[in-house]
């Protein structure tokens, strides 16, 4: 019985054993390419959701804030954090409007974003384009990686 099961596997007869390994490898590859979207998302549970990226000189904080003007935003920086606060207002429509859907939310929010290294709070710049906020946060000299030449 056992003997027949082991040797009766169709894949061993028709394909080389490497085909099975190849299939397994492809499945693993797919698993790893799909992985980041689920594990990188570690939302802090505070509005707005932010994406933090960095290059050698700056951190970039991005958040989606549709329908907000730059005046409604309050951005403050310390030596290692940036706070983003404000109030999103949705102006009232005419009194005779009857709603089918009302999903967009208005309200206040504030969030503090801790940065992994020291920053230069005086040079923080923010930009709000098409409802996407981009805060450019220059790293402090002390926090920047230095090129060390080997003699």
């Amino acid at each position: 019985m056992i003997y027949r099961r082991f040797f009766g596997l169709p894949s061993w007869e028709t394909r080389s054993p490497y085909a099975e390994l190849e299939r397994l490898r492809r499945q693993m590859d797919r698993l790893f390419t799909e992985w980041p979207s689920s594990y990188q998302r570690q939302a802090a549970g505070v509005f707005p959701l932010i994406n933090l990226t960095e290059n050698q000189d700056n951190f970039f904080i991005r958040a989606e804030l549709p329908g907000m003007s730059s005046k409604e935003l309050d951005i403050q920086a310390t030596s290692n954090s940036v706070s983003i606060g404000g109030e999103r207002k949705i102006p009232a429509e005419s009194t005779e409007a009857k709603y089918h859907r009302r999903e967009r939310e208005a309200g206040k929010f504030s969030r503090i974003v801790g940065l992994p290294s020291e920053i230069d709070p005086d040079k923080v710049e923010a930009d709000l384009v098409n409802g996407v906020l981009t805060v450019v946060v220059p790293k402090a000299q002390i926090g920047k990686p230095r090129q060390i030449s080997v003699r």
Binding site: A43, I50, N51, F59, F60, G67, E96, Y99, K108, N130
Partner: protein, 135 residues
């Protein structure tokens, strides 16, 4: 009325694409407000990151389709992800309109990532007040 309310964090709603896509990427449902007055239906949709030329509004056979593409973030050279809480991709949503819309008078505005779409009703679809005479 919403003075003291705080906005709760909400993850973007991802949808599976209606048809198989030729370009890879995620598809999201934008949040909308839809309201109706006697003369028109107005739709407001949050589509942050969509530029006017990347927005496509289509109305045929009473089906309104909104499609907006967003340029991928951090596309600039040398940027590395530290924390990623939201993803960007295409915005897509379809609605079936029950009223007859005057196609020539549709008016769309996109400001600060919010689309405001005004769909005027055809004159005959606007309700008329029927006067009742006392007999």
């Amino acid at each position: 009325m919403t003075d003291s309310k705080e906005i709760k964090v909400k993850e973007k709603q991802e949808v599976s694409a209606p048809a198989e896509q030729t370009t890879p990427g995620a598809v999201f449902t934008p949040e909308v407000d839809i309201f109706e007055t006697e003369k028109a239906i107005t739709l407001l949709a949050d589509i942050p990151g969509v530029k006017p030329d990347q927005l496509n509004i289509d109305l045929r056979d009473n089906i309104l389709t909104i499609t907006g593409d967003v340029d991928p973030i951090a596309a600039k050279a040398g940027e590395e992800d530290v924390t990623i809480e939201y993803e960007t991709g295409r915005f897509y949503r379809q609605f079936t309109l029950s009223e007859v819309i005057d196609q020539n008078k549709i008016d769309a505005k996109l400001a600060d990532g919010v689309l405001r779409l005004n769909l005027p009703k055809v004159a005959k679809a606007t309700p008329r007040k029927i006067a009742i005479k006392a007999g």
